[in-house]
Symmetry: none
Subunit: 183 residues, 2 copies
């Protein structure tokens, strides 16, 4: 670990925008370890303030932010520096927003949960490469499902019935799944 001198930093700057503070911290740590100069923001406004003082070369932006959509942030950041590489993150992936994000200039669009390596790989991606990013995929399908269920469940304050309805699965099945370990 190289101790860094404050002001002029030759590490690439990374702006993380996500309303989930814990998520930010974890990701910030992981990306710092990978050699980035990391700043975090939890709202669009904060992100803009930060971006203006220190235009980031890289950014990860959550789609859903308090107030406005993360999409407009993509637009703003690109306006500040069209070279900025932006990865969109989202808890709930949708084709429409994915298309939108890419058209606005995002370099990639990933669904949570993601790990730092996937984000790194996404940053590296140039447009339309046929290349294969040999990133390791730690998550099995079962595990992914578990993570997702946990998130939705959490968002609904642990209400199993509601969660089951949203997830379009049987309450009984959800119950049974919850008794099991993440595969």
């Amino acid at each position: 670990m190289l101790p860094t001198i404050e002001a002029d930093d030759d590490r690439p700057s990374l702006l993380i925008v996500d309303d989930d503070v814990t998520f930010c911290e974890v990701l910030a740590k992981a990306m710092t370890k990978r050699g980035f100069n990391v700043h975090c923001a939890h709202t669009v406004e904060q992100a803009l303030v930060l971006a203006e003082t220190c235009v980031p070369e890289y950014a990860t932006i959550d789609l859903r932010l308090p107030g406005a959509s993360g999409l407009i942030l993509v637009e703003k950041l690109k306006a500040l520096d069209s070279g900025t590489r932006i990865v969109m993150l989202t808890g709930y992936a949708s084709i429409t927003t994915a298309v939108e994000a890419i058209k606005l200039g995002a370099t990639h669009y990933l669904a949570k949960p993601v790990d730092a390596d996937e984000i790194m790989a996404a940053f590296e991606r140039t447009s339309g490469d046929a290349e294969v990013p040999i990133s390791t995929h730690p998550l099995s399908v079962g595990r992914l499902e578990w993570e997702y269920i946990q998130r939705v469940l959490n968002e609904n304050k642990g209400n199993i019935s509601v969660t089951a309805r949203i997830l379009n699965m049987h309450r009984r099945t959800l119950q049974r799944k919850l008794t099991k370990n993440p595969r």
Copy 2:
């Protein structure tokens, strides 16, 4: 605008690429009625031959084509004329391929079934309209699984065996899942 090679026709040229012949015919008719000079192709090779004799201004391309993916066609068409407006069509929408298509230069990405008006609207679309509603829960668990599988599969160039191994599931099961619709 440069006139195309054999432009005795002032109607905009449209190339429809889809292996489903019936679909092509129906769409061709509908688009002709809307003022396009329509050509159809059912394979990547056919499409390339057609495109070289008469560079299309518009194109609709199915993602799944016999042999290669429709994505490479996007690349080729854009190389011939970067002004070509391309709408990707797909039976089973997946975020991964959507991202890929847009990055390669497609102007939009639509899931079948689509009608001619939707395609028209997609052609008209310019850059990002930053206001896209973020639906709270677009994905059921089954759908999530599907998206994830598509992503990993895509990253591994469609190699089912490798994907199954990474995902820690049986190849046979993966095969079976792939034949089904996203839930």
